[in-house]
């Protein structure tokens, strides 16, 4: 069949989902309300590690002092959000969005 590609495997399992979050983490790790209602929808595709800091798959042949571990990575994305303090105001703010799960080689010594 046309368009079929070879199977691809990743060292880290992750799940991908479109979300319409009403709250998000800013770069400084504080929470802020995100605008998401029927009139104004902001859909974001998240990709999250399945489980935190699990060992990577297919990683049984790294050098002896390397420990392969799956790590969550993020990107910063600007979203319309609502100021937590003062008067209600819609502002653009950068939020941490889980973007992918990568195998990191932890160096022991």
């Amino acid at each position: 069949r046309v368009g079929s590609t070879n199977e691809e495997e990743y060292l880290c399992k992750s799940s991908r989902r479109i979300m319409y979050p009403k709250k998000g983490l800013r770069a400084d790790n504080t929470w802020q309300l995100i605008v998401n209602n029927e009139e104004f929808k902001q859909g974001i595709q998240f990709e999250e590690c399945e489980g935190a800091d699990l060992p990577c798959d297919y990683a049984s042949n790294f050098a002896n002092n390397y420990k392969p571990i799956c790590r969550q990575h993020y990107v910063l994305q600007n979203l319309a959000s609502i100021e937590n303090e003062g008067k209600l105001d819609v502002v653009q703010q950068a939020f941490k969005i889980p973007s992918c799960c990568k195998c990191a080689l932890l160096k022991l010594i």
Partner: protein
């Protein structure tokens, strides 16, 4: 027939409007979540029409929830279906779920779940008998029934990963078409015997990350079709010498991450089609390999060996002439036998990085004449002899970074004429050449002189002191020359006259460059086209003296000589380390007027150039000699040097001394003075014939002057320019005799900088001269 995945944008919109599921389209795929608006949906479907792929992600607590699946979907034909975290659907086949979605005859099914709910059975694969690829993955220990695959005659790829500790022999009975088996990452302790005869097409057998410690030759009986076998990470300590006897067509084997303390001789004796062998990251030290382990292999090409090897037998690769790639990095090798590569006439790439090599035999590379890449970085090599690389005419890349290289014999690289990238950084290389009459000859060449096609020459962090002739005029392709962290102490224009036309970038940061001299102008031919050369000069200890004047003018953009069009200097962080007055100033921001050089001084009065007790400086910016004798006890003007013919100005600084009288304007030396700074002395009068003919600046503040006569004023009137006379702080007597002085100050207000501070001291209260008119000091009627 011919129908494609029929789910599209229209169906997606319809679903969101009507159904209880939400559909989004993102890039070229669709994401369906059921039920809609759920924080924790029971199903998530991803449809990638372009990849012919559907992913079903479940979040079920019981199988009855399968009825919440989206109704009446018609996804159509897809190649691959992946089901993740889904439960096995009771006693009904998995095909029923696919039917509900309208998925037609996939060729690949991936079922990955840690939430099976029950053991997998033959019925679950009902109506999936056309599958070519089947993958079943579960993290919990799972029982595999012997008849699971009984109907799967079309299967070509089988992957089971479910912590399986035993495989039933009959599982394989009908897998006549299977080509690859992936059983990596289970708990298998032994292989069922006699299975390979039933799989005549089996090519790839992956058994990595199991507990198969004790392989014997019987484990592989009938496996003559197998081409590749991967048994890495099985905790194997010993292999019988005949274990691979039946794998007569084996081309690839991976023995990595095991626990070998030795390997038997003749291990691959019956495997004459070997192409690639991997033995990496052995979990215990394996100090050496048996004699002739990889010898007489007519098809062997690639070897990756990393297992704390301390030595190798000289006959290891004997008669295996087709080897192209050998990686021996990260072992503990201190040297290699001279004969090791004797038959490797086709070797292209050799990696010996990260070992403990202190020495390589001169004849090691004598026969590897086709070698392209050689990695020797991170070893303990101290020298490169004339013979070592002499036969490597095709070598393109050589890494010898982070060794202890001191000596490179002059002809060491004369044979490596094909070299493109040479990395010799982080060594102790000086490249010392015989000094000719105390200086390097302009034409001194380095041991790299014969590599005309070099693109990269990385000599970072060595002890180089000189820019060699061949780098400039022979390497016409050179793109990167890294000379940072070396001992270069100065630069002249000729050092940077590189001819490479390849946008050469030269890194000279972190050297000991204290001066850079650039000519004001160099004649260039009419048809001259500048080749661009970028030079990073940052982080050098510049001595900001008059010698760097034209370089400073150049980087400030004050002069733009034709020759300089080829240079792009990086000087953002180039600062002065000397003199103390300019320390840490950025060279590009230094005022060229402040760049001075000391003028000789002598203790012998006969050839006294700079007067004793004075300091003398040359300022090349305006060709001035500065004689500084301030703050002494001088009672008269000292003997001054004659002005050198290259200099135009002589500035004499005599402030705060006790000079009473000026010498005659004809006095040798003094006659050339152009600026005279005499503030804070004891002068009581100045005559015209005491003022040097070319004087343009005069500062006589804070002396004992009471008046200046008309002829002196006439001289000043003729020779002085704007703001060049300072007269305040003197006890001027403003009577009729002072009329010419008063008129002079009125007529020449632009020449006398401190005119407003001049005071008349002959009255009871000192009066500012500017407030007086001639009438005030000398009424008309009196003079009549």
């Amino acid at each position: 027939p011919g129908s494609e995945a029929s789910f599209g944008r229209y169906a997606c919109n319809e679903m969101s409007i009507k159904g209880h599921c939400q559909c989004d389209s993102i890039m070229s795929e669709y994401e369906i979540v059921c039920p809609a608006k759920s924080e924790n949906p029971i199903f998530k479907l991803t449809i990638q029409p372009t990849n012919s792929f559907v992913q079903i992600v479940c979040n079920l607590t019981e199988t009855s929830e399968y009825q919440h699946f989206p109704e009446k979907m018609e996804i159509g034909e897809v190649d691959r279906v992946q089901m993740r975290r889904c439960m096995l659907p009771g006693h009904s086949p998995i095909a029923n779920i696919l039917d509900k979605l309208g998925i037609v005859s996939p060729s690949t099914l991936i079922f990955e779940s840690d939430n099976l709910g029950m053991n997998i059975t033959r019925q679950h694969l009902d109506r999936l008998h056309n599958l070519k690829r089947f993958r079943f993955t579960a993290r919990r220990p799972t029982h595999i029934p012997a008849n699971l695959l009984t109907d799967m005659r079309n299967l070509s790829h089988l992957e089971l990963r479910a912590n399986i500790d035993e495989l039933p022999t009959h599982l394989f009975d009908n897998l006549v078409n299977v080509e690859s088996i992936e059983f990596g990452s289970n708990q298998l302790k032994k292989m069922p015997h006699g299975i390979f005869g039933k799989m005549p097409k089996l090519k790839q057998l992956n058994l990595w990350s199991n507990k198969l410690h004790n392989f014997t030759k019987h484990d592989f009986e009938g496996a003559s079709s197998v081409l590749g076998i991967d048994i890495h990470d099985n905790g194997i300590e010993v292999l019988p010498h005949d274990v691979f006897t039946h794998l007569t067509n084996l081309t690839e084997i991976n023995l990595s991450a095991n626990r070998f303390r030795s390997l038997p001789e003749g291990l691959f004796e019956h495997n004459k089609h070997l192409n690639e062998v991997r033995l990496m990251n052995n979990r215990v030290p394996l100090a050496t390999l048996p004699s002739r382990l990889f010898a007489n292999q007519p098809e062997l090409r690639i070897l990756r060996l990393r297992c704390d090897l301390k030595s190798l037998p000289g006959d290891l690769f004997e008669y295996s002439t087709e080897i192209t790639n050998i990686s021996l990095s990260d072992n503990l090798l201190s040297t290699l036998p001279a004969t090791l590569l004797e038959h490797q006439v086709n070797l292209l790439s050799l990696d010996l990085s990260n070992n403990r090599l202190t020495h390589l035999p001169d004849s090691l590379f004598k026969h590897t004449t086709n070698l392209l890449n050689l990695r020797l970085e991170d070893n303990l090599l101290t020298d490169i002899t004339t013979d070592l690389f002499s036969q490597l005419g095709k070598l393109e890349t050589l890494y010898m970074s982070r060794n202890r290289l001191r000596t490179i014999e002059y002809e060491a690289f004369s044979g490596t004429t094909g070299m493109r990238h040479l990395h010799l950084d982080h060594n102790d290389i000086e490249l010392q050449q015989p000094l000719l009459g105390g200086f390097f000859s302009e034409k001194t060449t380095s041991p790299f002189y014969n590599m005309k096609d070099l693109l990269t020459l990385n000599l970072r962090n060595n002890s180089i002191i000189f820019i060699y002739h061949d780098w400039k005029y022979v390497m016409l392709q050179l793109k990167i020359l890294d000379l940072s962290y070396n001992n270069i102490s100065s630069l002249v224009y000729a050092d940077l006259d590189f001819l490479s036309n390849n946008r050469l970038h030269i890194n000279m940061t972190h050297n000991k460059i204290s001066w850079i001299t650039m000519p004001e102008e160099v004649s260039v031919p009419d048809d001259w086209k500048p080749n661009l050369v970028e030079v990073d000069l940052n982080d050098n200890p510049m001595d900001c003296s008059c010698t760097i004047l034209w370089f400073v003018m150049l980087i400030k953009g004050k002069i733009t000589p034709e020759y300089a069009k080829k240079f792009k200097f990086q000087t953002d962080r180039l600062t002065c380390s000397q003199p103390s007055a300019l320390k840490n100033s950025i060279v590009r921001q230094v005022n060229p007027y402040t760049l001075l050089c000391p003028f000789e001084s002598s203790d012998d009065p006969r050839d006294r150039l700079c007067p004793l007790g004075c300091t003398c400086w040359v300022r090349t910016y305006d060709k001035a000699l500065l004689v500084k004798c301030n703050n002494g006890n001088l009672t008269h003007v000292p003997n001054l040097p004659n002005l050198h013919e290259n200099l135009k100005l002589l500035e004499l600084y005599l402030q705060n001394n006790s000079v009473v009288n000026l010498p005659s304007a004809n006095t040798p030396g003094y006659a050339n003075v152009t600026s005279l700074y005499l503030a804070g002395n004891n002068l009581t009068h100045i005559d015209e014939d005491q003022l040097p003919r070319n004087l343009t600046h005069l500062d006589v503040r804070w002396n004992h002057l009471q008046t200046l006569n008309a002829t002196t004023l006439g001289f000043l009137n003729r020779t002085m320019s704007q703001s060049s006379i300072k007269l305040s702080g003197n006890p001027w007597i403003c009577n009729c005799d002072a009329r010419p002085l008063l008129l002079f100050t009125q007529d020449n207000f632009e020449r006398i900088e401190d005119r407003n501070e001049m005071l008349c001291m002959n009255a009871e209260i000192p009066t500012r001269m500017v407030e007086l008119t001639t009438n005030d000091i000398c009424p008309e009627e009196k003079s009549v």
